[in-house]
Every structure is written in structure tokens, then in C-alpha cells.
């Protein structure tokens, strides 16, 4: 179980009062227990999300202002930090009736006359339909969205507000709908796994983040490349031992099609956008469209990896740099992690 998921489970504990059953599932998974299929049953689930602001620190010590969804019922400004960006995956079970309460604690648009930027959160989960409600969440407001998690898979939730600027600031995250069968990504045995790792891929242009309302997007040039909000060497490893099947839940929250290269093994691509593929295929350099999700399973070889750090998984578009050269943390950096015991 990756550090990331352990962290996710900690964050989830804040929701214990509202999400007792979901917490149980996640805690068992994080402890490495085999979860029996009988534990997953449809139930009403409520999740509180807070769209807040804050800042994160890049490996080259650059501090970047960001926005993010934080799972908390105590929504406030300035909640986002290095430990909760972009937030742990929301995890529900297939069949759950899910209510997501989204509170907007973003700072108000400093120049409201320049709409469309108005910092109104427009919460959506592509692939899942729900009543969009009468209004979006204006700054200071809360909206609720309810849907039935009818199909298992990996989804991305996001805010479409301010014509994409909110997502570029970090208002995105992963939603996992677990299948009815434990340790199985979908309702077919071929999607069985031993270890799962969610990889939310994204990028940051610090110049944009410094001026999200006024930055000319024509000049958008990302210089930080993140896995789960972190750039190498701060990225968490994916912990798996020889023979284990690693479910890689890719979520591309960035704006570029992103290619991840896995050395030493192929991954079997089973699903895209939370739908099983009719023809799964094996890949080692898999390209994920922006805004898309993908589920792939790689079985860790029993032989030694090419690197003493493990089996490298990195951005083949060479986005393995941090910030602008020269700086001591420039390379290696970016979207790079390892699968290791």
C-alpha cells in the first residue's frame, strides 16, 4: 500500500462520523487485509468537499499558490498544503447513493468585473450524471450533488469554473467506485489486483498560479510535473512485491496528453474512463488524454529491477524536471516514481 493511500485513509478519518462504512473499507485496504466481497454493499454516503486555497512547495523550494478540494466538514480558506493536495481519492462502493457537499472557500475574485472569472465552483464528475442543481457554488456557498455510483471504475472530479482556470489551479481529484468484489477493479475477474495506486497526473505553471484571474493562457507553460501533487524526488513510491498485481489508476488532471513509461514490465490496460475495454492490451508507454482516466494492471516481475530504486515509472515526454534550469533540483524531477518492495 502506497504512502499516498495511507495518507488518504488518514484524511478520510476526518469524515468518520459521516462515513463509517466507507472508512472501514479503506482502513482495511490500507492495512493490507483481504476484503471479503460481503463487506461491499450499497449504502448512502455523504462526502464533504471544501474548495480552498493554499500553497505547496516544489522540490526546488519554489512555493506555489494552489487551490484544491479538501475533504472536510470544516471548510475554510487556506486549508490546502503539501499534505492534502490534490486530496485523497474519494472512495465509494458500486451502488452507493453518494451525496457530495461542495463548499466554496476560495478567495473572492479580486476584480469581479472581469468575468467570467468569478470563482464559482462548478463541480462535475465526467462519466457520472447527476442533477447539476439550480446553482453552482459561489464563493461562500455550499451545493450538494447526489448520484448513484452505478458503475465501478476510476473517475476524475473537478471544477469547471472560470473556464478551466480553477482546474489549472488544482481543483481536481480522483473518485474511485469500487466493484462489488473486493480487490477487483471491475466486475470481472480479469481486473483482480493485489495492490492499488492512484496516480493523479497534473502540471503547474507557477506564473499562472500567481495570477489565476489575469494570466494570459496563451503563455501557459507548465514547469512542474506532478504525480499526486508531488514532483520527484518528493513523489511517493508504489510499494509492491514480486508477483503482486498492481492496479494503476491513472487520472490525468492536467492539460496535456501524458505518456507514462514503465520499465521492466508491461501493464495491461483494462479500462479507460471507467469503462472496461473490449480488447485489453499490453503497453509500456501509455498515453493518457487530458481529463481521462485509465486502469492498468502490471504484475511485478520476480527478477531484479533495472534500478536500485525499483521499476521506474516516468513521463516519457521527458517532463522529469522541476522548474526552470539552472536550479539544483532541476533534473531529475517531475513525473517520476518507482514500483518497489
Amino acid at each position: 500500500m502506497s504512502t499516498y493511500e495511507q495518507k488518504g485513509s488518514l484524511a478520510m478519518r476526518a469524515l468518520a462520523l459521516k462515513k463509517t462504512r466507507a472508512l472501514l473499507v479503506l482502513a482495511m485496504a490500507s492495512a493490507g487485509f483481504a476484503v471479503t466481497s460481503s463487506t461491499a454493499s450499497a449504502a448512502p454516503v455523504a462526502i464533504d468537499l471544501c474548495a480552498s486555497n493554499g500553497q505547496i512547495t516544489m522540490p526546488d523550494t519554489t512555493v506555489v499558490p494552489v487551490w484544491g478540494f479538501v475533504q472536510t466538514a470544516s471548510c475554510a480558506a487556506n486549508l490546502v498544503n503539501d499534505t492534502n493536495f490534490p486530496g485523497a481519492p474519494l472512495v465509494v462502493n458500486e451502488g452507493d447513493v453518494v451525496t457530495i457537499n461542495v463548499t466554496n472557500a476560495l478567495p473572492p475574485d479580486p476584480a469581479p468585473a472581469t468575468d467570467p472569472p468569478d470563482h464559482t465552483v462548478r463541480f462535475e464528475i465526467p462519466g457520472i450524471t447527476f442533477d447539476p442543481g439550480g446553482t453552482d457554488a459561489a464563493v461562500g456557498a455550499t451545493v450538494s450533488r447526489t448520484f448513484t455510483a452505478s458503475a465501478p471504475g476510476t473517475y476524475e472530479f473537478q471544477s469547471a469554473g472560470d473556464a478551466g482556470r480553477q482546474e489549472a489551479m488544482g481543483l481536481y481529484g480522483a473518485l474511485i467506485v469500487r466493484s462489488a468484489t473486493a480487490n477487483q477493479a471491475y466486475d470481472v475477474p480479469s481486473t483482480g489486483y493485489d495492490v492499488e495506486a492512484t496516480l493523479v497526473l497534473s502540471a503547474i505553471d507557477p506564473n499562472f498560479n500567481a495570477a489565476p484571474d489575469t494570466f494570459d493562457l496563451h503563455g501557459y507553460r507548465a514547469t512542474y510535473w506532478l504525480i499526486n501533487g508531488k514532483a520527484y524526488p518528493d513523489t511517493a513510491g508504489i510499494v509492491a512485491t514480486a508477483g503482486q498485481r498492481v492496479l494503476l489508476r491513472y487520472v490525468n488532471g492536467g492539460f496535456d496528453n501524458t505518456t507514462m513509461l514503465l520499465l521492466g514490465m508491461h501493464e495491461r490496460v483494462l479500462a479507460r474512463d471507467a469503462r472496461l475495454l473490449n480488447n485489453p492490451f499490453d503497453a509500456d508507454a501509455e498515453t493518457l488524454p487530458a481529463g481521462a482516466t485509465e486502469d492498468a494492471i502490471a504484475t511485478v516481475p520476480s527478477t531484479a529491477p533495472p534500478s536500485t530504486s525499483g521499476f521506474p515509472l516516468y513521463n516519457r515526454q521527458l517532463h522529469v524536471t522541476n522548474g526552470t534550469a539552472p536550479n539544483p533540483a532541476y533534473a531529475p524531477g517531475g513525473m517520476l516514481t518507482f514500483i518497489h518492495p
Binding site: L261, L263, P312, L318
Partner: protein
């Protein structure tokens, strides 16, 4: 194509002044390497271990706009290359279940290495030092050795695993091809992946930002964030250089061409070509063949459920394998199955002067008359389709279109290139009607040749054995031959080439008789040849096809069939090595070589047309002219009616003649 033209001019200049110039040192290709298609660096096989010795080094590539760009790459340290810089790296070819050893010597100023994406077996490193992604060879001379079992067939990339944001962009990549145990004519261990091994192509894509390379060359700041690609390459070359031959001396450090060449699918020629594609660059490339679909069979060295595409994105670091067959499903030809609408009037079609390659015909395989303004005919009636990145900003060289990530898909006529005669000459006979163009198509127009005639100026007695004729022109200058005067056939046995002949009288069942002064003397044979031009030196599998008939009449526009005593036809080809053009200047010159059976010659040919195809008696080289006769092929048709009873004059009607060959 101006750059190409300029380079061709340069070649001419080099040839003219070669004594003054240092020869260009090109990356050597293995002996016997084809000029078109994927070229393997075979390594050294000992038992089941195949060893490659690579050196990471620096050098320059040339771009079609006249630029040269500093690159890092892998070179083959073994003969014949001996470390000569090349971009991209050598194509490493191994067989499934061999142990592949790659020894790397690093001459770069920083540690370097190789990773092998898609190799799921352990890659064991020996020597070197642990790096972030793999074991590395130290800077400026360090070594490391990698070893792995090539367990799965397929198309793979190998590339640097060190400082990848710089080293991969600088060019440290190449192709690794693993052939399945099922054989070299299969791409994978699947019968569905069979292909024609003579049509195996590799298209390795990459992009180059010359400013970043300049920064590395001059020790400036290298910042990948500044990446602005200006060159978009296939196999390390940008269009139009991509269509140059493998090993072209014009591109001494870019040995791999990218021209893809196929023939239409026929019942006997039905194996597809294999296109191995690798994207070594960082951008996704929407690659796009014009013409037929391609069938995608594998990705990243693993079979996929095959699908057909005419536009498919190949992602960064990805490999895709395609089977490509070209189905001329409508089988258009101007005779039996013409285009359903008239081809456009040439005046309505824009041809760029001096830059248009065109067969002159809208039909695959037919060469026709070129429209005004078009000065260059393509080789053999082939069609060219673009095969390129449909991201049109990548179809450029430094923002100038078109160039860059494009090559051509060449569709040769079914069975290979063919050429039609461009000239015809009668070396025994007279022209009845028609011209050489009548030989270009299998149709109802003929190149018609009558026997040579002359006259006797005086009376001929029945016993006379020496006769004088008005002219000997067009009659054989050597050997015995028959002529006819009135109803008598005589054999000329002496004085050939002069106007005073020694003759035998009353031959072939005729009776010696008296002939009046002024009687016509008619040959009972004719000889003519057709000349072909532009046959490329190095062409092989040359075949000659001739279709024609012989008619009993020498006047009129319809053919009078001869029910009996058919003329004997012998088709010969000029061996230029005997005596050059002089060796094939007359009907009896020494250079003519009778085309060998099958079908056996001579053949009895009357009417209607008879069609025959012959292969050459040996390698094609001797039959394709050089020097002043460069590219010429000459085919003689000798027809005689020298058999009893009492043969009469005839005319020879040539309908169609072509040569077919595999261009080099």
C-alpha cells in the same frame, strides 16, 4: 524538392571534381544492405548470445534547409562502422530467445546508459555504476554491459536512461527488433502477422529543437521548458531526405531512408509489407498514410486486437506495428477497365515546372505522354502517396513546408516496375505505319514493319547465280538469307552488304524463273528493335514481354491472316558488354542475345497476337547500358519466313512491348 535538386547538382559537381575532394565517409551499412527498407545491424552471434557494441558519441546531422544540428547518439562500434556517428542509433536485430548483450562505451561528458522499454525479462548490468533509472557508464570513456533474454518478438525502443530530459532529446535512442521463432517473415508468433520479408520498413519518429542542441554544444543552459521543436524526423532525416536511399552519401551520418515501397496485392503476390513504427520523440504524432488503410497488429511489442487505420496517433515512446497491403481493388487500366470518368484535362491540372514527378497517366503502371510543363517522369508508372504526420506543423523544416515528418509510400505496378519503349528502329525492313508509342499499350494500334525491298535494274535469267540489286540497305550484311522475286525464292549466300549478290535459285519449293528488268526484290524477314531508357543501374529480375502478330499483307490497314507457313519470330536483347551500342546496331550484330526459353525460340507467330514473356539469361547488369547508353535496354524482334513451301512476303505488327524489373 529544390534542396534535392541542389544536392543532385552537388553530386554532379563532386563527380566532376572528385579527384580534388576527400571522399565522403558515410556510416557503413552491412554488406549487401538494400537501398530501401529496414537495415539491421546484426551484431555478433555466438551460440545463442548476440552481442552488440555501441558507443555513445556526438556528431552532426544535416537538415534539408541546409542546417546542421549537433546530436548525441549511439553508434555501432564494430565494423564496418567502427564508431562512426549516426542518428538515430543502429537498428539492433535479434531473434527471439537469444540472449542480447549490449556493451556501451560512453564518450559523452556525463554518465550515460541504455534502458530497454518493453523488455520484461531482467536486464542485467555488468560494470558501470548505479544510476537513478539503471546502471550507467561513467563520463568520457566509461563502460557498462547490459544483458537480457529477448523473450518476446516485437518492435522496441532503446534509449538513454540517464539525465533523460537532456539525453533522449539529444538523440540517444534507436530501434531494437526481435524476430519471432516462427521465422523472419513473421512479425510475431502469430500466423496473422506474416509479411513479405523483402518489404520490411522501420519508421522511427523524433523531433529536434536545434536551439537546445546548440546550448548543449556550446555549454549553455539546457532547459527543456524552452523546447520548441523545429525539425521533425523519420529515421533521423527530414523530408525530402527521407526518400533518399539507405546509406546515401549525401547524408553521411543519417544512414536510414524511409521510403516505403509496395506492390499491389495480387493472387500470387499477396503478402503485406510490415511497417514498424517507433516514436522516440516527446510529442504524439498523428501518422497518416494516404491510399489504403494500414492494419495495426501490435503495440509496444505485444499483439493487439488488430484494427485498420488511415490516421493513428503514435504516442511518445510507443511502438506500433502495421501490416500494409495495397489493394488496387478497382483494377483500373485504360483498356479493359478504364476510369469511370475521363481524366482531367492537363490544362486544368497544375504541374510545378521541373518539380513534378508524374507517369503521364492516371493508371498505376502505365507511363504516358507527359503534359506540357512537366519535365520529369517518375521511374515506372508508380504512384506515390504521402505517408506523414498529419500535424502539419510537423510537416515542415524550420517552419517551412513541406518537409519534416513525411515520407512517401511508393506503389509500384503489380509485379514490379515496368517501362515502355521510348524509341524504335528498323534495322531490316521499312516502316509500314505506326510509331513507338503504339508499343506502349496493349491495344489496337500497332507498330507495323514491312520487309525491305529493292529492285533488279536488269532482266534476270533462270540460271543466273549472281545478281545486282539497286540497293542493299536494310538487307542483312552477313549470313545467308532469303529474298523473293515474283514467285521465286532465292537464297543470298554471298556478297551480303553489297549490291552484287551470289544467289541460289529456286529455293524453298519455288522454281527458278526469268524476271523482267525492274522486278522487285523482297526480303522474307524483317528486323526492328525497341529501345527503353531510364532503366536504373542495379535493377534486377528484368523480364521482357512482347505481343505482336504477322500478317500476309504489306499494304492496307487490316491484317490478312496466314493460315500456313507462319513466320518464325526470335526476340533478342542487347548485351551492352559485347561491343556497346555498336554491338547492337544491325540485325546481325554480335551483341544480340536470344532470350532463353521459356518460351523456346523461334516461335511461329501469325495472327492474332501472340504474347510471350522472357527472363534474362543472366544478371540484368549486362543488359542495362552504361556510359553513353546509360539506362538503355534494347530488344530486337527478328521475324523470318524462310520455310517451304514458297513463302511470300509478310508484315510484322508489334502491339505491345515492355520490360519489367525490380528497381534497386
Amino acid at each position: 524538392m529544390t534542396q534535392r535538386t541542389r544536392r543532385l547538382g552537388l553530386v554532379a559537381a563532386l563527380a566532376a571534381g572528385s579527384a580534388l575532394l576527400v571522399p565522403v565517409h558515410a556510416a557503413a551499412l552491412p554488406v549487401g544492405a538494400a537501398k530501401i527498407g529496414m537495415i539491421c545491424t546484426p551484431g555478433a552471434l555466438a551460440g545463442t548470445t548476440r552481442t552488440f557494441n555501441l558507443v555513445a558519441n556526438t556528431g552532426y546531422i544535416e537538415t534539408p534547409d541546409g542546417n546542421s544540428v549537433f546530436m548525441w547518439s549511439y553508434a555501432n562500434a564494430d565494423t564496418p562502422d567502427n564508431g562512426h556517428f549516426q542518428s538515430p542509433g543502429p537498428v539492433l536485430c535479434a531473434n527471439q530467445n537469444e540472449t542480447v548483450v549490449v556493451n556501451l562505451t560512453n564518450t559523452l561528458p556525463e554518465p550515460s546508459s541504455i534502458v530497454f522499454p518493453g523488455q520484461d525479462a531482467q536486464v542485467t548490468a555488468t560494470g558501470g555504476a548505479a544510476g537513478l533509472l539503471t546502471t550507467e557508464a561513467a563520463a568520457t570513456g566509461g563502460t557498462v554491459s547490459y544483458s537480457f533474454l529477448a523473450g518476446n518478438a516485437g518492435t522496441y525502443l532503446y534509449e538513454s536512461g540517464s539525465d533523460v530530459s537532456k539525453q533522449v532529446e539529444m538523440g540517444l535512442y534507436g530501434a531494437l527488433v526481435v524476430r519471432p521463432s516462427t521465422g523472419a517473415n513473421f512479425a510475431y508468433d502469430s500466423t496473422a502477422t506474416q509479411f513479405d520479408p523483402s518489404r520490411e520498413y522501420l519508421l522511427l519518429l523524433n523531433e529536434i529543437d536545434p536551439d537546445l542542441h546548440h546550448a548543449v554544444e556550446t555549454g549553455g543552459t539546457y532547459d527543456l521548458n524552452a523546447l520548441h521543436n523545429r525539425y521533425f524526423a523519420i529515421n533521423g532525416r527530414e523530408f525530402p531526405d527521407t526518400v533518399q536511399d539507405n546509406g546515401s552519401l549525401l547524408l553521411p551520418n543519417q544512414p536510414y531512408g524511409a521510403l516505403v515501397r509496395i506492390q499491389p496485392n495480387t493472387p500470387t503476390n499477396n503478402q503485406p509489407a510490415l511497417l514498424r513504427m517507433i516514436n522516440a520523440g516527446v510529442d504524439n504524432h498523428p501518422f497518416h498514410p494516404h491510399g489504403n488503410h494500414t492494419r495495426e497488429i501490435a503495440q509496444d511489442g505485444r499483439l493487439v486486437a488488430s484494427t485498420e487505420h488511415f490516421g493513428e496517433t503514435i504516442g511518445s515512446g510507443q511502438t506500433l506495428d502495421y501490416l500494409l497491403r495495397w489493394d488496387d481493388q478497382d483494377n483500373w487500366n485504360p483498356n479493359g477497365n478504364p476510369l469511370p470518368v475521363a481524366p482531367p484535362n492537363y490544362r486544368n491540372v497544375f504541374f510545378k515546372d521541373g518539380n513534378t514527378y508524374y507517369s503521364g497517366s492516371p493508371y498505376l503502371g502505365y507511363s504516358g505522354t507527359l503534359p506540357t510543363g512537366t519535365v520529369s517522369q517518375n521511374v515506372c508508372g508508380e504512384w506515390y502517396f504521402p505517408l506523414h504526420s498529419h500535424a502539419l506543423n510537423e510537416f515542415t523544416n524550420f517552419d517551412q513546408g513541406f518537409g519534416g515528418m513525411g515520407t512517401l509510400l511508393r506503389v509500384d505496378p503489380a509485379g514490379g516496375c515496368f517501362a515502355s519503349a521510348t524509341s524504335a528502329a528498323i534495322v531490316g525492313g521499312t516502316l509500314k505505319s505506326g510509331s513507338v508509342t503504339a508499343l506502349g499499350l496493349d491495344d489496337t494500334t500497332y507498330y507495323q514493319v514491312n520487309p525491305k525491298t529493292t529492285t533488279r535494274t536488269s532482266t534476270t535469267t533462270a540460271g543466273q547465280t549472281t545478281i545486282t540489286v539497286a540497293s542493299a540497305a536494310g538487307f542483312p550484311t552477313a549470313g545467308s538469307y532469303y529474298v523473293r522475286i515474283d514467285n521465286e525464292v532465292m537464297s543470298v549466300t554471298g556478297g551480303q552488304g553489297t549490291t552484287t549478290w551470289t544467289v541460289l535459285r529456286g529455293q524453298l519449293g519455288s522454281a527458278a524463273a526469268t524476271h523482267a528488268a525492274g522486278a522487285t526484290v523482297t526480303a522474307l524477314a524483317n528486323d526492328w528493335y525497341a529501345g527503353f531508357s531510364g532503366a536504373p543501374v542495379g535493377a534486377q529480375n528484368l523480364k521482357v514481354t512482347y505481343k505482336g502478330q504477322n500478317c500476309g499483307n504489306t499494304t492496307g490497314t487490316s491484317c490478312t491472316a496466314m493460315p500456313t507457313n507462319l513466320p518464325q519470330q526470335t526476340v533478342k536483347i542487347c548485351n551492352w558488354t559485347v561491343a556497346g551500342a555498336a554491338g547492337c546496331s544491325t540485325s546481325t550484330s554480335a551483341g544480340w542475345v536470344t532470350l532463353p526459353a521459356p518460351p523456346a525460340q523461334p516461335q511461329s507467330v501469325g495472327s492474332p497476337d501472340a504474347t510471350s514473356t522472357w527472363t534474362l539469361p543472366g544478371l540484368a547488369n549486362a543488359y542495362i547500358g552504361t556510359g553513353a547508353n546509360n539506362g538503355q535496354v534494347r530488344v530486337l524482334v527478328h521475324t523470318q519466313r524462310w520455310t517451304a513451301p514458297s513463302p511470300t512476303a509478310f508484315s510484322t505488327w508489334g502491339n505491345f512491348m515492355k520490360i519489367v524489373y525490380d528497381a534497386p
